[in-house]
């Protein structure tokens, strides 16, 4: 019976102490992702998501300073998807606006043409 207990304990211990060094790379990636979201205009199109990502970045840094590396990594991972969502939401909103503008320009164009035709007929 004992043969599975030891590996199980080791596994659990490993899980618990997986992160023994600060997640520097993840934090750098996260900063890049947030910057990218900012660059496309997330401040205007996805402010809540962007704020969420920034807040979590702060929290991750705090965790690192308290040497809670695993916590820091988890928070950073969450912040990554927040930043990703902020960026994609911004892009989709902008595209939708482009569609609306294009549709409007077509409508105006057609109206103008109709006016010309009517003028021509009168």
């Amino acid at each position: 019976m004992k043969h599975w207990i030891l590996p199980a304990i080791i596994l659990l211990m490993m899980g618990a102490c997986a992160s023994t060094k600060p997640p520097t790379q993840q934090l750098t990636q996260l900063e890049t992702s947030i910057k990218q979201a900012e660059q496309v205009g997330a401040e205007n199109y996805a402010p809540l998501e962007l704020r969420e990502a920034r807040k979590k970045l702060e929290k991750a840094r705090e965790m690192v300073s308290q040497e809670k590396y695993e916590e820091a990594e988890l928070v950073a991972e969450k912040a990554m998807v927040d930043a990703e969502l902020a960026e994609i939401k911004t892009l989709s909103s902008k595209s939708q606006q482009a569609v609306d503008q294009l549709r409007e320009s077509i409508r105006v164009l057609q109206e103008e043409i109709q006016k010309n035709i009517n003028r021509e007929q009168n």
Binding site: I5, I9, L12, M13, A16, L74, E77, K78, V81, D82, E84, L85, I88, K89, L91, S92, S95, Q96, A98, V99, L102, R103, S105, I106, L109, Q110, E112, I113, N116, I117, E120
Partner: protein, 286 residues
């Protein structure tokens, strides 16, 4: 089961409880349930399935991880961590689908705009062609009218002079020393009134002339009365008096000698000057 065994199992349970950090059977996790529900909705949305398969797959993987940890009664922290990731990835899938759909729409709208522009240019070309055709027709019509006018006037023996079309009538209108129109004049009057009805933009000036027999004053008055008589005849046929000017010139402006009867016959005349299309009659050079 002996005491050492009891102790051993007790130790395992305690260890498990400490490591997992949660006592008793795991309850349904509300965050996981919410993530499952969000994913289920996204998965049944054909737009998301078609336009954002990768993001949806990532959401599914995070969700499965959360579910697995929950099933294995793992740490609630990890269940919720992956539930959060799944939830956000589902939202990302939704936005990605919207983004891709919008971009498709932009391409479609761009194509439609091009089509409309081409259509507009074609409509413009057709309109221009119609305008050109109309202008050409108008030119043609004006030319025909001018030709028709010339024909009509030549029927009345009108002549093109530097004053425009001038119709000269002799003898036919009046008897000697009379301002009454002869019965034979009615044809000329009819022709003239037809002409004026047909060309409402034209006006005429009737000028009377005599030979040099008799006093100058008498001749001037006679030529005026003759011009007026012709005007009255035209008015009776419905031509507006506004369109007919009359002048009696008497013996002035002879066209032939007054020394013989042939010349005097030439000088006894009425000239009808047809205005241009603006109703302007060119006056004699004084």
């Amino acid at each position: 089961m002996d005491n050492s065994h009891k102790l051993f199992y007790g130790g395992i349970v305690a260890l498990t409880v400490i490591l997992i950090g949660c006592g008793g059977p795991p309850q349904n996790n509300p965050l996981l349930i919410q993530a499952e529900e969000s994913y289920r909705q996204a998965e049944s949305d054909s737009l998301i399935v078609m336009k954002a398969p990768v993001a949806l797959k990532e959401a599914e993987e995070a969700l499965e991880q959360s579910q697995q940890i929950w099933r294995e009664k793992g740490d609630k922290k990890y269940v919720e961590h992956y539930a959060y990731i799944a939830e956000q990835k589902t939202k990302i899938a939704r936005e990605t689908a919207k983004l891709n759909a919008a971009q498709d729409e932009v391409s479609r709208a761009e194509a439609e705009r091009q089509k409309v522009l081409i259509e507009a240019r074609r409509a413009e070309a057709v309109a221009a062609e119609q305008r050109a055709k109309k202008a050409l027709e108008e030119v043609e019509k004006a030319r025909n009218e001018a030709k028709d006018l010339a024909n009509r006037l030549s029927e009345m023996e009108a002549k093109q002079s530097e004053r425009g079309m001038v119709l000269t009538l002799r003898d036919v209108l009046f008897d000697f020393d009379s301002a009454n129109l002869k019965p034979g004049a009615s044809n000329v009057v009819q022709e003239l009134s037809n002409f004026l009805s047909e060309y409402p933009e034209r006006t005429i000036q009737i000028e009377g002339f005599t030979d040099s027999v008799g006093s100058e004053e008498y001749n001037r008055s006679l030529s005026q009365r003759r011009a007026d008589a012709l005007k009255m005849a035209l008015i009776r046929r419905g031509i507006s008096s506004q369109r007919i000017q009359t002048i009696g010139y008497g013996e002035q402006y002879p066209v032939a000698t007054n020394m013989n009867e042939a010349g005097r016959q030439q000088n006894r005349r009425v000239e009808i000057i047809i205005s241009d299309e603006n109703g302007i009659v060119t006056q004699r050079n004084q």
